[in-house]
Subunit: 259 residues, 2 copies
Amino acid sequence: MVSTHIAGRDNADRLVGLHQFAALSREALTELNALCRIHRYEPGQTVAVDGEHNDYIGFVKSGFLRMQKTLSDGRQHIVGLLVDGDMFGQVFSGPLHFDIESATEAHICAFKRVPFEALLERTPELERLVMLNLLNELDRARDWMLILSGQKVSCRLAGFLLVMCSRFADIDHVLTKGRDGLDVKIPINRTDLAHLLGTRTESISRAFHALQEAGDLRILKPNLVRILDLEALASHAGEEELLASPNLRDLVRVIKRRA
Amino acid sequence: MVSTHIAGRDNADRLVGLHQFAALSREALTELNALCRIHRYEPGQTVAVDGEHNDYIGFVKSGFLRMQKTLSDGRQHIVGLLVDGDMFGQVFSGPLHFDIESATEAHICAFKRVPFEALLERTPELERLVMLNLLNELDRARDWMLILSGQKVSCRLAGFLLVMCSRFADIDHVLTKGRDGLDVKIPINRTDLAHLLGTRTESISRAFHALQEAGDLRILKPNLVRILDLEALASHAGEEELLASPNLRDLVRVIKRRA
DNA sequence: CGGCAAATTGAAGTATTTCAACGTCGGTGG
DNA sequence: CCACCGACGTTGAAATACTTCAATTTGCCG
């Protein structure tokens, strides 16, 4: 791995920030901690490549990673973002069919595959945890599908922003609450956002400005927007549709309570 | 469960057709077989409901199930299909955030959650299998995302048809090879297909007819098409994009070899 | 054969893509 | 310090695609 390796001082502090491990027993934690290495990546570094032999399982400690497919002509097509707590890699030789690249500065907790799997097999609590992790990712992938099936670009963009507010909240300075709104940092550029939402940069730009006209948000900088009216944003995203997703339903409920 | 329960004759035949279990040891198979019950569903029956207490884990033995979100106004929004070998339910109390309904006649292999999880915990080979199953589903969910991010309806429809040909091939009479093409049965109606692909029925209809005009396929019946030129279909789907997905890449390779 | 649901078609209005031009920001080198 | 460059974002205008609504056709079932 081409990255900065950070020597963990010692025992129990390499897993800090991986809240999903919090419930594990002291023994499991000690073993996990012994196995893992922390790596730091600068924005734009390659973390893992599709097809190459990847003998590492990674957990994101902080930052954003891009999951992307590299097309045969060299263009890259982003298919998702990994954040705090997300797992990636070929657990049990499962598939890893895309490249992973850091979008922001990122810290990764990396395990060698073989010893990690061995630990997994003799630690049911850990295995259950990994399984739950996968189930959650699957769930979120389906949320994305709901968002992507909005017919208008502004629906999909609004949906994306809501996901940023819910799933990605409290992560890595993405979101700061102000008195008159939420400031959301967007970790990818318009080209990638366009790919992610199945459209082009020009349409993304126009959709942002349309939402601004509607009073839902203000564009502070191209990749920093202040959400002024979360509720209006939710109805632009097609509230009906989003209410079908529990993750987003929770968010909408929070919004309503505040309003 | 409201369904026809089929009394398994005895030991080892209830798991027939679930090829993913083939590699398990005789002991594991016997235990699994003892735990499971086969249910048969007619098209349109409800298999599981979001939010209700679902103490069953299911594996699809045959047929198509629809995963769908039910909106607050009663409309249903399909988000995916389950086929042969797919698992559903709240393993380890994980999420099940949509309803499941049979789209065709379907056979389900059902396990009570608690004993199934117990078996899972003392049978590492089974646990690994379930984990691989999840990883695969995740992978396919991401393939869907790639398909859904096509900008034109005909791209997405072509992508859908390719998935039908690859993932769903050799399942339940979906696909029959003729001399002049592949006959593909489409297990859902235009309204659901429209939802799945993020558009409306009229556009689906026009896209089908556009692909027919282009010579890629012939519409035999509304829900039965004959693929005449798989390669052309792949290029309509945006070959570049699809080549990024290994599942679809395999399919394209097969097509090319045949051509 | 009638009746119903699903699919198709047409036509008008809207949204998006495309292509081209212009701005803006940050860095580099004179 | 400022001019210039390049990458990225924004804007405009014409072509294209999609949605919407209404009307019609098709296929199926009683």
